[in-house]
Structure formats: structure tokens, C-alpha cells
Subunit: 336 residues, 5 copies
Amino acid sequence: MTVSYNLDVSSVSFFNFFKLLFRWRGSVWKSIWSELVLWLLGYYLVMVTYRVALTTEQKAGVRKYIDHLDQNLDKCVPLTFMLAFFVTIIVDRWKNMFANIGFIENTAIAIATLVKGTEGDVLLAKRTIIRYLVLTQVLVFRDISLKVRRRFPNHDAIIKAGFLQDHESIILGGDNGRTNYWMPVNWSSAILQKLFEDGNIPAAPLFNSVWQEVKTFRSNMATLCNYDWVPIPIAYPQVVFFAVRVYFFTCLFTRQHLDMEDTKTIDYYFPILTVFQFTFFMGWMKVAEALLNPLGEDDDDFECNYLIDRNIATGMAIVNSKYSDVPEMLADKFND
Amino acid sequence: MTVSYNLDVSSVSFFNFFKLLFRWRGSVWKSIWSELVLWLLGYYLVMVTYRVALTTEQKAGVRKYIDHLDQNLDKCVPLTFMLAFFVTIIVDRWKNMFANIGFIENTAIAIATLVKGTEGDVLLAKRTIIRYLVLTQVLVFRDISLKVRRRFPNHDAIIKAGFLQDHESIILGGDNGRTNYWMPVNWSSAILQKLFEDGNIPAAPLFNSVWQEVKTFRSNMATLCNYDWVPIPIAYPQVVFFAVRVYFFTCLFTRQHLDMEDTKTIDYYFPILTVFQFTFFMGWMKVAEALLNPLGEDDDDFECNYLIDRNIATGMAIVNSKYSDVPEMLADKFND
Amino acid sequence: MTVSYNLDVSSVSFFNFFKLLFRWRGSVWKSIWSELVLWLLGYYLVMVTYRVALTTEQKAGVRKYIDHLDQNLDKCVPLTFMLAFFVTIIVDRWKNMFANIGFIENTAIAIATLVKGTEGDVLLAKRTIIRYLVLTQVLVFRDISLKVRRRFPNHDAIIKAGFLQDHESIILGGDNGRTNYWMPVNWSSAILQKLFEDGNIPAAPLFNSVWQEVKTFRSNMATLCNYDWVPIPIAYPQVVFFAVRVYFFTCLFTRQHLDMEDTKTIDYYFPILTVFQFTFFMGWMKVAEALLNPLGEDDDDFECNYLIDRNIATGMAIVNSKYSDVPEMLADKFND
Amino acid sequence: MTVSYNLDVSSVSFFNFFKLLFRWRGSVWKSIWSELVLWLLGYYLVMVTYRVALTTEQKAGVRKYIDHLDQNLDKCVPLTFMLAFFVTIIVDRWKNMFANIGFIENTAIAIATLVKGTEGDVLLAKRTIIRYLVLTQVLVFRDISLKVRRRFPNHDAIIKAGFLQDHESIILGGDNGRTNYWMPVNWSSAILQKLFEDGNIPAAPLFNSVWQEVKTFRSNMATLCNYDWVPIPIAYPQVVFFAVRVYFFTCLFTRQHLDMEDTKTIDYYFPILTVFQFTFFMGWMKVAEALLNPLGEDDDDFECNYLIDRNIATGMAIVNSKYSDVPEMLADKFND
Amino acid sequence: MTVSYNLDVSSVSFFNFFKLLFRWRGSVWKSIWSELVLWLLGYYLVMVTYRVALTTEQKAGVRKYIDHLDQNLDKCVPLTFMLAFFVTIIVDRWKNMFANIGFIENTAIAIATLVKGTEGDVLLAKRTIIRYLVLTQVLVFRDISLKVRRRFPNHDAIIKAGFLQDHESIILGGDNGRTNYWMPVNWSSAILQKLFEDGNIPAAPLFNSVWQEVKTFRSNMATLCNYDWVPIPIAYPQVVFFAVRVYFFTCLFTRQHLDMEDTKTIDYYFPILTVFQFTFFMGWMKVAEALLNPLGEDDDDFECNYLIDRNIATGMAIVNSKYSDVPEMLADKFND
């Protein structure tokens, strides 16, 4: 489920900031705490080993090596650049995916408005078109979202939920039929064609409009599939995510207080700044990880199951509405 | 209310710059002054504590720790990168939200132009469509803007303002009916369909055009809702805003003049550069905070209430206009 | 007036570069010279004061403070980042404004092509539509561009220029009538509707097309208004422009040659690198300032008055053209 | 073949990260391992030469030179900036190319829905249009993708695959006829025109819609050709790729442990940080190289041959479908 | 002519990289070699002057000044930032210009498909429309591209090439008539209107479609003109290009080996790293310079003359084609 926080930031103030900061669901804290604990464990393990297990001579040798790492780490691992640009690219992709997530309203209103008749067969046809479109969404989402797959592991589950009917499942080839992916859209188009031929869509331009809306919904679904088919080349996230881990693994050693004799620097037991740095960079990377597959199972991922239910409910309600449902037109109070 | 300053920057000059700088409403000064005062209080508290309350030995210990912080702070908190990229993403989002804020003119002119008849029932129908569209805007804005919610806390307030009528409120389910969000658009479409059937819209392509405009207005509203539904993942602003605060909290200590014996550096009592730095980074962050929810209550947020009033007034005026209102066509003075 | 320099850069060469560099109109030199002179005056004032008016002891005190500033300035004022990202956002905005500046050709050709008849009332109607569209542009530009406001301070000036007629001015409410901003577009639409009803536009799809073009022109104007209504939040340019000034004000002191005894560094009297730095950063900022309000009065701002004249001339010429003006079709020389 | 990894990142967790990291196909490891081995060979060659073959005096001379390189390398080779911005531009281009890769569904559904008749000549016409469109894709892909060229080295191969027929190949001029590139689209359009004239497309707006879809498919192909015709200016990748190689070539020397007497730094035999740096920068560059020509032969490149097969299969299946194939409409289970 | 290198990068490998690197046409080497030679001459001139002509005392004085420059240069000239962001903006502009360069195919296919008749007057009309469109392109390109201007210095040259005819040149006002820029498009529209009235375009929606294509072609041309009319404000390239030159001019001095006594640093005679740096930054800048005016005369600029010839040939071939040219439809080999 996405995490909404707009009310917390409706105005800029110090206290709103704190409200924002102390949210847990979807928060940076939730996403990094486990790795931070792991990192701290590693840190103290290194600390104890160094201070207790090593002789003074060994310490000197280790220190020389760690100093060498420390001096070159930031030059060799360009974290900020990699993260900043990678996140920008990922956010762009995430935005486009959301723009193609598929809302039924426009299509449903087109069907309700441009197709005449609100009874009997025509009504059934309208409802069936809506059902086929949402069915397409279900079929597509099953292949790209684990959550939806879990809800609809097979055709039976879809039939039980009402999106599919037995005889349709057979035509689709049942659970093993994968190639006939877009068939329901084709059926919708055929039904539209029939409605046009029977005169229920009174003119060609209107037929055109309805069909364009159906096409748009289908194109959205196709775009989602394509984003799934051709992700950002795997080497890019690999490089970025690996760089972050290498950096902080090295920090396990370089951020230790090593020089026991030096009286000018203080001996500290909690690497507070490194913990902050871990929070910022790891949190930044987690944003990228979460956005990389927005149809996944993170707190912030799109709520595909909710969307499916909302689409079928809204779509059906819209095509069901009749002209007689429109409230009587009464004069309004606005002056001219 | 948004803050306009275009005339101040109509030409590039040194004085125009000052005019721009000394604006208060929506300014960076207004947004940061309270936190800056707070920060300075903290700064002087730390200063007095350090200089008065600590013994020389304690001072030495504290200094060592603060020196350690000072040397690593900038490496560990990549403020510039985070702010720069975050603001870029937020500005893009803000721009898109404004592009979908919903202006009625195009729809109103389409209705006025493409639907024949300016009297009686047809006029009422036109006015009602406009009213329903603005009503949709009111209903949507109530859910995403605190200011509009405060103006219209319940259906009664909307009815009193004239956007809704009693019998319509009942159909919408009153204050508790939330699911029938898009019903007014559906009613508008139905009215359009009726007008087409009755011959008031003379041809299918024109019906199409009017309907497309209504759809566009609705899509704008839906886009706003979706932006509200799926914000930038909360972890991103958390990381950025937290980083800024951590940075300046640390600066409370690291920007002190600590070495009382050192004769080479000067003892200063006002951290002028840090105050500037605070202004720049905090101001930059405030831009991001303000843009994060542009429908909120900051000086620079979109004026939703004004927009609603403007939309209903302009929309009604446009659909009211008759051909007889068009001025007589006289020859113009331009040569060929 | 915009400054064209494309021919200077038609090929990459060392000499073309110099041609580009030594342009004056709209150049970086023109935009910064006055502030650079001011800055140099300040610089020499500080130099003289320091060298002549201060005792050696005072010098030492001042030097310590200036050294402190010098060491921290670049850390505290992130000029490059702020300017780079701000300019990118501003350039994007500037590009969009130009894309909506409003060219009449498409609309005019649509009217000329899709409306039958090139004589008498039909011609007058065509000319009037063009005039109304350009009138809208005049009315909008008056409110967002100082130059156009100066050319048309009141309705009389617009009437004298021929864009408006007396009886139309009265309907618009004269100089004080502001709310009826979009009335001329409404009139144009009404005239189009009349032309369609009278059969001068032979089919609904063509009516549709013409109307869409009129709508596009209006939408362009509305977009310009909206950009004027909702600028980049004022805090953003304030932060950026203030940062640049603070930086160079501090440089007045930190870029002095202070240590008179030091024999290792040279005593210099002209801060050549700082002058270059001033040129680059100030020039970069000036680009941002100039683009912030592209309808203003800078050398590089859009030539709104020219555009208005060009639109009315081109528009009238296009709608005036008759089929008989088309040259006789003769066989061409191209082989198949 | 593109490499899909979405399921690996469906939620953010430490283990998913490792799953992602240890993929081989298309991975950063696969793309850099050979150059890394080469680099390490060079590194040890330099090491051995320096330590074994040089006298102490020679060592001193070499060291001075290498020190000079080391101090200036990062200033002189702005790797991060160049790579970050170059990759951003390339990713944008790659995205656009994929958006124009050409999916047949929309066109096929348009033909199936808007053209009446599913038998005999009409069916043949529909199938032929699909075939011509995919043929266009084959012809275009042959010129811009080595893989497709290898599959279809000449017209005979295309004929054998069924996309082309003998008499069509003759009209196209056989293997040497290149100018008549877009002829098949023209044939498709002519067939559509015939279908319209014969009444199989019942109305002009529908004819229009089908034709627009055919045009869109053709425009996609034209866009691909244009991207091939006008690539990013060659100087840009040259500069970036050369910079990366120069940097790491210099590192062969500067990352050696040179000062044998120095007891403060450790003598190391494996340049671990440099290897990491090599991985990050080289991997980043490989992302750019792979995306630069997404129709090439890398693991992550678009699967053009698969797309062609998929398009012909899907397209044929869609236009073959008859209304009688649509499942019987039965009442659904959703409440109103 | 644009330089194509896609085949060289069809897969990522070390050898492909070298193939790419050693291209000459349009390469970074070609664009920088002359300035690099110039720079090296300057470098050795400075070297010789310093080493031979100056006394030890003078050397000391000069060295102090150069050291001062060296320490502050990178701070004062933010080359990477300026180049990176400038190139990004320029690439975006370049992309848009190419997208509007004007390909005739879509328009030609629209005319061929939607206008009935392939003989006599109708064919002549079709050919004339194509000719007028390409003529518009010629007229526009003449004003924004030096190469095209050189090919068509006056109307006679255009007439000789066949794009224009004598009686048309007279109407256009001959070589001095500039205002009637868009007349040929207007003529095309008028011819289309005539074709529609004569029934050669069978329905209004089709007329609409053809006209939209003509309009799109014209809009492309208008966009090119506007890009020419309103370039990036001149101050921006001035700042960037000047900064690069100032930087490397200063490097003439700061990259010398100055301290003859210092035994710790080596005396070198070829500034290898600076030459690399020159290559990278100068090459990067040359990319920007070349893209700034993509209609110019660089190796990588768009081939306007070729495009014009291609457009007229393709356009004529497309409108010439008759239905009888379409190959006989035979059953294909694909299964269902």
C-alpha cells in the first residue's frame, strides 16, 4: 500500500517536519533498521577484535592498511553521483509506470455516455466490456505483480472472483494458455462493433471515441508489460547497489578509532556520523530499490489488488447509471 | 496564495534584484526566520555552556570530539547533492500538478459553441453541466486541500455556496457518501447525451468534441487525486529533510570558536558564514517542502478556493453568452 | 529583442568562437559590466583602507577574521550546485513559455482552408476572428509584459492600433473591465458557429477542426497567464541570487593580498582570477535572471510587440487569400 | 535478449539484493571481467618490472613522475561528471527507441474491429496488411540490427520466412532495391482505401482511425531509422569512453606501492580499492555502451527477432478472430 | 553529414571500443587537433621563455604569481558543472530540432491514401502539393542553414532545381519577397479544399486528416524557424565557451615545471595529463558547439540538402503509386 503523508506537509513548519519524520510505515527507518543493526554488529565485532585480539605490532600493520583504505575510499567509490543520477532515472520510470497503471473511469464514462440503452442486452454488453477490461488488467498484473499472483494463483481464483467465466476460461486455454493474452480486449472490441452495427452507437465518430478509450486502456496494460519485459539493464542497479555495500563494508574498518596512543583525537565508541551517513545513503538507495519495481511488495508499492477491485466497482456503477438517475435540473443560484 | 514577482524581474538589473530580495510574502526569509532564531539560541546556549560551565580539561575533551565531527561532517552528509536532485524531482511534480489543476474555460467554450440554443432548458442544461464540473472540483479539492476542506466542511456548506442542490446531495449519499465521487461527471455526460439526442448538438463529431472536453476536465481531477494517492515515497523526503537538520544540529557545535589559546584564529561571536549557509540550505529545503504539497497552506500554494470561484463565474458567463451578444462585425483597418 | 547568433556557430572553429565572444547585444559582458565595475570599486576601496588606514595590529586582527571567512566560504555557499540546477529548471520553464507564445498561422490556415467563401460577409467574419484572436493576445500580453503595456496603456491605444473597435471596447467594459478577459475568443467561437449554421463550413468535422485551432490559440494564451499567475516560488530565486551576491561580497575581502610580510606569495593589485570567476558565476546567474521573466525587457526577451504585429499581418494575409490566387498548376520536372 | 530481474526486486531486502547481485547474464560482472583481467595483468607486469628490473636510482626517477601523475589525475579526468551526464542522455535515448520499437497489437485490433467481414477476400486483405507492416519492420530492422540482418541476409530468407512473396520481392527490386523502403506501408494504405471504397469499412471516421494506426506503426519504424541515421555525435562517446580508459591506464602506475622504504604505508599486492573503482566506473560505462545501440547484440539489447515473430503471430491471430469467437455473454456476479 | 557508428557499438567489447575511437570523421580528434597544436605551441613558447629568457630573480617573481593562479584556478572556473549542464540543455534542444526536421512520408501517404484518383489533374494536384511542401522546406532551410543557402542562393537556383516555377516565383515576390513565407502551404491547403469540393476526397473526416498532415509538416518548419529566431540566450554559450578558453589559457602557465631546484618533483617536457584534460574538456565543449547549431556545416550536422532531395523523391514516388501497383494478394503461409 502506498503511504500518504500529504496532510503532514500541507504547510511548512518545524512541527510538521517532525510529524513527517516519525512515520514508520514506508519510512526510511523501517527500510534500513535491519541492515543498520547488522552493520553495527559488524562494527563492534571489528572493534573488539582489533582492541582485544591483536598485539601492538599487528595493530600497527592493520592500521597502515586501513589508513590506506581510508584515504582512497571516497575517491574510488563515487556514491553521491551514482545514487543521485540512478534515483533520478528510476523516479522517472516509476512515474511513467504509475501513469499507465490503468484507471477504468474514462473508458467506463465513454461507454455509458456514447452507447445508447441502459437495459437488457445492451446493459449486459456494457458490463461485459468493463469486465473484460478489468480481466485484462488482472491477467497482466498476475504476471508482473507478486501480490496479484498470490491472490489469483490460477484461473479458478479469477472465476471465483467473478472476473472470468467458465466458458471464457476454456477459450483462453485455462491456466496453461498464455499466448492469448489480449483476447479479452479483442472480445470487447467485437462487442463494440456489434453495438455499432445494431445502432446502439448512433454514429461512427462516437464508435471511434469509445474504441479509442478501450485502446488507451489496453495500451496502458501493454506499456506495463513492456516495462516488465525490458527493465533498466541489470548492470546499472548492480553497480549502484554494490557500490553502496562496498562503501559501508569498508567503513566497518576505516571508521574505527585505531590510534590508541594519539592524544589529540578522542577515543569514541559510537560512530555517530557514520550512522547518519549510513542512514542517508542507505535510505537513498532504498528509495531506488523500492521504486525499481513499483508493482512489488514494499510499503510504497502501488496497490494493485485495491485498484482491480476499485476498477470493477466503479466501472460497473458508471455503466449501470441511467438517464433517469440524473437529478432533476433546477435553476441554480449563480448570477450572470 | 501564490506570490507573483514577475514585474520585479522584467529586466535584469541590480535594483530589480533588491526589489526581489526584500519581498516578505512567500519569501525565504519568512520561511526560515523562526528556525534560524531557534538555531541561534541553541548556538549561544552551546557557546555559553562551553565557555562558562566547563573546566579547561573538559574543554579539551569536548574539543577533540567536536574536531572529529567537524572533519567528517561534510563527507558524511551530502547535502548539496540530495537537495539539488530532490528539488528537481519535486519541481517536476509540482509543475504537473499545476498543469492538472483544472481550468473550466476550454470546456465552457466548447459547450457554448458546440451546443445550439441559449434559452430555457438548453441554457439550464449548459449551466448545470458547468455546475457539476465545478462541483466535482470542489469534491476533489476537499479531499486533497485543507483550505478547501475548511471552507466546505460538509455538504451543507457546498449547498449553501450553490454548487450542490439538496436533492443532488441525497443522491450523492450526503456527507458520508464517498464512493460516488465521479457521479456529477456522469450526470454531465448524461445531460450531454440528452442534448445530442434532442438535436441540440447538431452532429456526432461535435458531441464528441464537447464530451472530450468534459473528459479532459475529469481526467485533470483524477490526476490530482492520483498524485495525492501516490506521493513520492515518504522515505525520500525523510532522508533529505533529516539530513539537513542533522547537518545544522551538528553545526551548533562544530562552528563554535573553541580554541581559546590559539592566537592565529580570531575569536568571533556571530557565526556569519554559518548563518548564510543556514539561509541557503534551509531556504532551498523550504522550497522543496513548500512544493511537496502545492495544495497546502503555504504562501506559495495554489489558491484552490479562488480557482473554484473563478471557474464557476467564468464558466457561467461563457455558457450564458448569446450570439446576439457578439458585437456587430465592422470592417477593420488593416490593409491586405 | 532576441539576439540571433546561429550563423556565427554554423561550424565549429576557433574564429567562429571569437565572433560569438565579441558580440555585445544580449551578451554576458553587457549584463555584468556595471556590477563588475561596482565590485572592482569596492575591491580597491577595501584594498586602500586596509593598506593605508589600518595599523599593523589592526591588520593582524582583520586578517585573522578574513582568513576564517576564506577557509569556509566555498563550503558554506554551494554556488555551482544552486546555479546549475536553478538554471536547468528556469530553462525548462522558458522553453515552455516560448512554446505557448502564440503563433496565428495554424489557426489562420485552418480558417482559410476549412471555411468556404472569400468574399463579403464571410471574408469579414474570417478577418474578425483573426482580429479577435490577436486582440486576446494583446490583452493577455498587456498584463504580463511591460513592453506591451507601455505600447497599449489603455483601450484607446488598442482601438487606435485597430485591434479593437469602439463598440467592442464598451462591451469589454473599457479600461476598467478586467474580468471579461476571454470574451473575444467567445465571440470568435460564436462567429464560427454562425458560419457553420449558414453552411459556410461544409461539415461538422471541419467545424471541429477550425474550432480546435481557435481553442489551441486560446489555450496558449491561458498557459502564459498561468505561468504568470504561478511563478517558481519566490524563495527559490531569492536563495540563489542572494547566495551569488553574498559570495562575491565576501570575496571583496578574502581575495585581497593581505600578508605584507610573506615573501612566498606575490603582492598583486588586480584580482584577475576573481574577475574571471565573477564573470562566470555572475554571467550564469544573469542567464537565469533573464530567462526568469522572458516577457520582460531584456535584450534576450521575446519580442512580444513584434509578434503581435506579425500575427495580425500574417493572419490577415492568409485569410484574405483566394483560390484564384493559387498559381496555375503546371507539370513539374521530377521523374517518377 | 533483455534480462528480467523484476521478481528479484519485488521487495526491498538484504537477500533480494544478493539475488540481484549474483546474476550473470547481462550483469556488470560479465561485461567487465575480461577487461578487469587484462588490467590486472598489466598491473602485475608494471609491479614486477618496477620491483625487479629497475635500479634504486631509476625507481626514484619513475616514482617522481608517477607521483606527479597521481596528484593531478583526478583533477584532469572528470570521470564522474562525464559518465553521469552521458548515461543520463543515453538512457533517455534508449527509452525513446524502445517506445518506438513497434508493437502490432493496436493496429491489428483496429483492423479487426473497424473493418467488417471475416471471410474470404476481406480476411486476406486484413492478413496482408498485417504481413506488410511486419515486413516493413523486418526491412527496417535488417538495416539497423545485426542480429536481424544475420537472420535475413537477403530477400530469399524473408520469402522463406513468409513475410514476403516472390512477386512482391520483384516489385521491391530484390536484394538491391533499397529506395523503395516504405512501399509495403503504401500497399497497406492502398488496400485500406480499397476496403473503404468497397464498403467494408462502413464510415469515413473509422477508415481514418485504422489509417492512423497504420501511420503510427510506420512512424515508429521511421523514428527508429532516424535514430540510426542521426546518432549522438560520435565525439561525445569518444570523449567519455576514452577518458575512462586513460584514467585506468594511468592507474596501472599510480596505484602501485612504490615507496619501498616508507614504513608508514603498507606494502600491498592486490589493489583492492582500485579493483572496486574499476568495477564501478567500468560497469557504469558498460551500461552506457550497451544502451548506446540497443538494437545490437548485447545481453540487454532488445530482442528484435523475437518481436518480429511475436508481431506476426499476434497480429494474424487478432485479425483472424470472428465475432462468433466471442464467448456468449452471460450475466456477471457483480452487484450494482 | 551525420556520422553513423552504430554498427561499431552493436556489442560491448574492447575491440569495438577501439574501432569507435579511431574514427576520424566527426571525431573529437578532428575537432580539437588544431586548437591542441596551437595550445602546445603556446606551451613550449612559455617554457622556452621562462627557462631561457628570464633571470633567476625574475623566475622567482613569475613563479609566485603562477603558483597563486594554480592554487585558485579550479575553484574559480567551474568547468565540469558548466559544461555538463550546458551540454544537457543543448542535447535536449538538438533532439527537438531533429524531431521537427520535416519528413514528407506521413503527409505523402495521407495524400496518396485519402485522395481518390491517380490520373490527370488529380495526380498533378497531388504532385503539386508535395512540391509546395518541399518548397516550403527549401525556403525555410535557406534561411537557417548555410549549406542550403549556398545551394540555393536565389530563386533561379530553386526554379532550376524544379521546386519552384517561374510564375510562382513572381507571386512570391522573387528574391526580395520575404514576408510571404508560408504562401506555398496556403496554396497546398487551397488545392486540398478544391479536391474536397470536387469530391476527390470522399468525406470530411478524410479531408480533415490530410489537412492535419499538411499542418503538421508546416508546424515542423515553423518550429525550426522559431528555434532559429529564439536561440539559447547568447550569454549562456559565451560564459561556457569563454570559461573553457580562460581555463586552458591559464594552464599554459600553471602546468609548466617551474621549480628547477626542487629535486622531489620531476622535470617533464610534455604535459601529458594536461593534454588529456584538454582533449576531454575541449572535446566535450566541441560537442556542445557542434550541437548548438545542428543545421550548420559540421561533420555531425543534419544533412539538410540530402533531406530535401530525399523528401521530393520519396514524396513523388508515394503519391504516384496507383492501386494497380499493389501486388496481387495471395494467401500467406502463416498458420492461425
